[in-house]
């Protein structure tokens, strides 16, 4: 950061905040007609003592043939909406142990936009939306995430939808993933249409989420990106596909056809699935095939339901051959690596998950969730992929796919738990929650876990929220759950009255013997002066 740029940058930041403040003129969240707003104080005589009867009789024939508007509530267009927060404050980095020349040791004035979303609806059937998170210091943007979509409907079930995003987050300040360079992506671009309200079509690039698992989804064969272990529910990139849906009451059949993407007219893949609902269980039967056989044909069976007080789910996949390009050390030239495929024997992938939750009227709540995964296409010992020469051999293979280097183990286990208690009442109502999640790949002996303690004071933590966490990864370099080796990141977040936000994290890199190799710190304090 250059000193001469600082006043200009601070002025720009202030101007940005001013502009956002002015935006409050068209913020519409949090407003409602007085007739739909609860009274400031409950007076039972006022509620039930008025001159008008509390029962309004509507002619059944009128209700059966029309829509009865009971209160005046008509939305007028165009509509502008804004939501989110914007603030300014200080942001800094300091590396007290093991600092390298490239490590920042600075304190900045900074602007922080959090969940800032703009929505514009020129008519009821058209919706444009832009949302952004941004962390900027005077000399540069440290991280930014922008998402936008347009939902353009010709009718209720016929529309064009487009969504794209921009991410830049080299130090993963805003997300659980690192975006070292600015990354633009077209997330979705499709058209929806239907035939006689019986057959529905979605044509174009679209997200597809098959499977019922949480951390592991062997049946989600059409998604193009891996599951983020720290954010398993995050949206994942999907293919360009033609999708045909046929609902049959609660049951449901669908067919996907993914057209050629490499110019080879004979290269396409297809998948079909049928969901069957029986006695509170949803059973799905599916098949998948790809003409060029890069992804192997497979049959899929998934289920979700309950056994007693437990929710259970599972996915089972049988493949003829493995999708994976494997690597092994050459027997003739030790120290070098060669790749191979296994295409003529069956493989099995199977996962089972169990969830339990308990909630008492005294405010005590408890939940637990565990999922195990057997990946028959994985390596019994996937530590070979920790060798950079072996990884390069895979990446250099003619049949290389990005999935060759992810979920490469054979045995996995993941779980989460949470216990929460409520104390006090009124403005001092306090909710204390202790939670944790953990994932382990037994095949490369890497593990990742994040214990967390949260204390919320006031309604939904509106007065103060304190969160302590410690995301820790243990394993060898390039292992699945500790790609950067042993590392632990204690972090603290404190929010007061939803206005003042303090964050501090201390990423600590550890040697293989768990001695400290490097200690970094990142800290910020923001006054979220503008909120919508």
């Amino acid at each position: 950061m250059k000193a001469r740029n600082r006043p200009v940058s601070i002025a720009l930041a202030a101007a940005a905040l001013l502009v956002l403040s002015a935006g409050g003129l068209w913020a519409q969240t949090g407003t409602a007609p007085a007739s739909q707003t609860p009274p400031a104080a409950i007076d039972e005589n006022a509620l039930f003592g008025g001159p008008k009867d509390i029962v309004t009789v509507i002619d059944p024939n009128v209700a059966a043939t029309s829509v009865v508007q009971l209160v005046e509530d008509t939305k007028t267009y165009p509509v502008f909406l804004i939501s989110g927060t914007a603030g300014a404050g200080l942001f800094g980095n300091y590396t007290p142990v093991g600092a390298a020349p490239k490590d920042p040791q600075k304190l900045y004035g900074a602007v922080n936009l959090s969940g800032l979303e703009f929505d514009y609806l020129p008519t009821k059937s058209l919706h444009f939306s832009v949302s952004t998170d941004l962390l900027a210091v005077p000399s540069e943007i440290l991280s930014a995430s922008v998402g936008a979509y347009a939902d353009l409907r010709a009718s209720e079930l016929v529309r064009l939808y487009a969504a794209g995003s921009f991410d830049y987050d080299p130090n993963a300040y805003l997300s659980t993933k690192t975006y070292a360079t600015p990354t633009f992506s077209l997330d979705e671009l499709f058209v929806d249409t239907e035939l006689g309200k019986k057959v529905f079509f979605r044509l174009g690039k679209q997200r597809i989420s098959w499977g019922v698992g949480y951390w592991y989804k062997p049946s989600d064969v059409l998604s193009l990106s891996a599951i983020d272990p720290d954010n398993p529910t995050a949206a994942r990139e999907g293919p360009f596909a033609f999708k045909i849906d046929m609902p049959m009451k609660l049951n449901h059949a669908m067919l996907y056809v993914v057209p050629p993407i490499n110019g080879d007219a004979g290269s396409f893949s297809a998948a079909s699935k049928y969901d069957l609902v029986v006695n509170g269980w949803e059973l799905s039967f599916a098949g998948f095939g790809r003409t060029d056989m890069l992804a192997r044909p497979r049959g899929i069976f998934t289920f979700t339901g309950a056994i007693g007080a437990f929710d259970v789910y599972g996915e089972n996949v049988i493949l003829y051959g493995s999708d994976r390009t494997y690597v092994q050390e050459s027997s003739t030239a030790p120290g070098t690596y060669e790749t191979y495929r296994v295409e003529n024997i069956p493989f099995v992938q199977s996962t089972l998950g169990i969830k339990y939750s308990l909630s008492k009227s005294n405010g005590l709540s408890f939940s637990a969730h565990v999922q195990g995964y057997y990946n028959g296409t994985g390596y019994a010992d996937s530590s070979i992929l920790q060798n950079s020469l072996a990884r390069k051999a895979v990446q250099g293979s003619a049949t290389y796919q990005s999935t060759d280097l992810t979920q490469a183990g054979m045995w996995y286990l993941a779980g989460s738990t949470s216990i929460s208690g409520r104390f006090g009442e009124g403005r001092n109502l306090t909710v204390v929650t202790a939670s944790a999640y953990a994932l382990t790949n037994f095949s490369d002996r890497s593990v990742r876990f994040n214990p967390q303690l949260s204390v919320q004071v006031g309604d939904q933590g509106g007065r103060a929220t304190l969160t302590l966490s410690d995301l820790t990864a243990i394993g060898a370099l390039n292992s699945e759950y500790a790609p950067n080796g042993n590392k632990t990141t204690p972090a603290l977040t404190l929010t007061v009255f939803d206005k003042l936000s303090l964050q501090a994290s201390v990423p600590i890199t550890l040697n293989t013997d768990f001695s400290v190799k490097k200690v970094q710190t990142a800290f910020s304090v923001f006054w979220n002066a503008v909120s919508y």
Partner: protein, 297 residues
């Protein structure tokens, strides 16, 4: 040789699709009685105990409200349960919920609901805030699906699970069935504004309900619920619900203005207001996952 193997496996995969499609077609079966779109097994039944509706039809309540027995009051609760539903038609409405929090300010949420009580089917779509538009929930009998338009993911859960990590259980989205879930402990009488009410103290007979104890205030003439106090196991008042306006359509009563007072935070309350109410038939495809996905963003 490799090419031959690939051709074989390619054919095998096509056979696999065919099997799935044939299975789908077979499972589709005949359309339900009375027509309608699509086929498949009929939706789950209304799931009520045998005789639940019939036993209440001709029940004679005492003329003198001070003479109510526990059985009389339970049948009164059953009548309010039955009349909160539409067993002879579908029902749609738009619901606005305005929540006021001393720490979080005012939050407005608008949803559209579609009910088919004879099938115990319920669809809810979020209309506002715009940032959550398209999120939705479909429940039919013991099955519940939530849809996240961001990840395009459906989640099938049971009524035992909690709703979006909140303290609300999926079971809370079922129609009123207090006469099944509670037994009567004590009965008194009183007034609420202009209305004479019968007051019943009820105790839960299972742990599926969010409140172990409730106190119900039921208006004596039209037999509609005006107020419900909900207590914890230690009899701490957790919430009070006021049903301050109703519409009557045929034999059914819908509480169109509901005010909820939090028992732990006095300044926290919310109001649920119904509008755009109708009993027009809802197309069958509305109660499908496909509709939920298509109307979302």
């Amino acid at each position: 040789m490799v090419n031959m193997e690939r051709r074989m496996t390619s054919k095998m995969s096509l056979v696999l699709f065919g099997l799935v499609l044939i299975f789908s077609a077979k499972a589709q079966g005949a359309p339900p009685a009375g027509g309608g779109q699509g086929g498949g097994a009929p939706m789950g039944g209304i799931g009520l105990p045998p005789g639940f509706l019939e036993q209440n039809k001709d029940y004679q309540f005492p003329d003198d409200i001070t003479k109510y027995s526990a059985t009389d009051f339970l049948m009164l609760v059953r009548r309010t349960d039955i009349r909160s539903s539409f067993y002879d038609s579908d029902m749609t409405a738009t619901i606005t919920t305005v929540s006021v929090s001393p720490d979080k300010g005012t939050f407005v949420r608008k949803e559209q609901i579609f009910r088919r009580d004879k099938d115990d089917a319920f669809l809810m779509l979020t209309l506002e805030p715009e940032s959550r538009k398209g999120q939705g929930m479909l429940r039919v009998d013991n099955n519940m699906w939530r849809y996240d338009p961001t990840s395009r993911k459906f989640t099938h859960t049971t009524l035992k699970d909690t709703y979006e990590n909140s303290t609300v259980r999926n079971n809370d989205f079922r129609r009123w069935q207090r006469s099944i879930d509670y037994s009567v402990e004590k009965i008194t009488t009183g007034t609420l504004g202009n209305y004479t009410v019968i007051i019943g103290e009820l105790k839960a007979n299972n742990d599926e309900v969010p409140f172990p104890y409730i106190r119900m205030y039921i208006e004596k003439d039209r037999k509609i619920v005006l107020k419900v106090e909900e207590y914890s196991l230690s009899m701490k008042l957790l919430r009070t619900a006021y049903y301050t306006q109703y519409v009557q359509i045929g034999n059914s009563f819908v509480p169109t203005v509901q005010i909820f007072q939090d028992g732990l935070i006095p300044e926290k309350r919310s109001q649920v207001t119904y509008t755009d109410i109708s009993t027009k038939p809802v197309p069958d495809y509305y109660f499908t996952k496909e509709y939920l996905e298509r109307v979302s963003q």
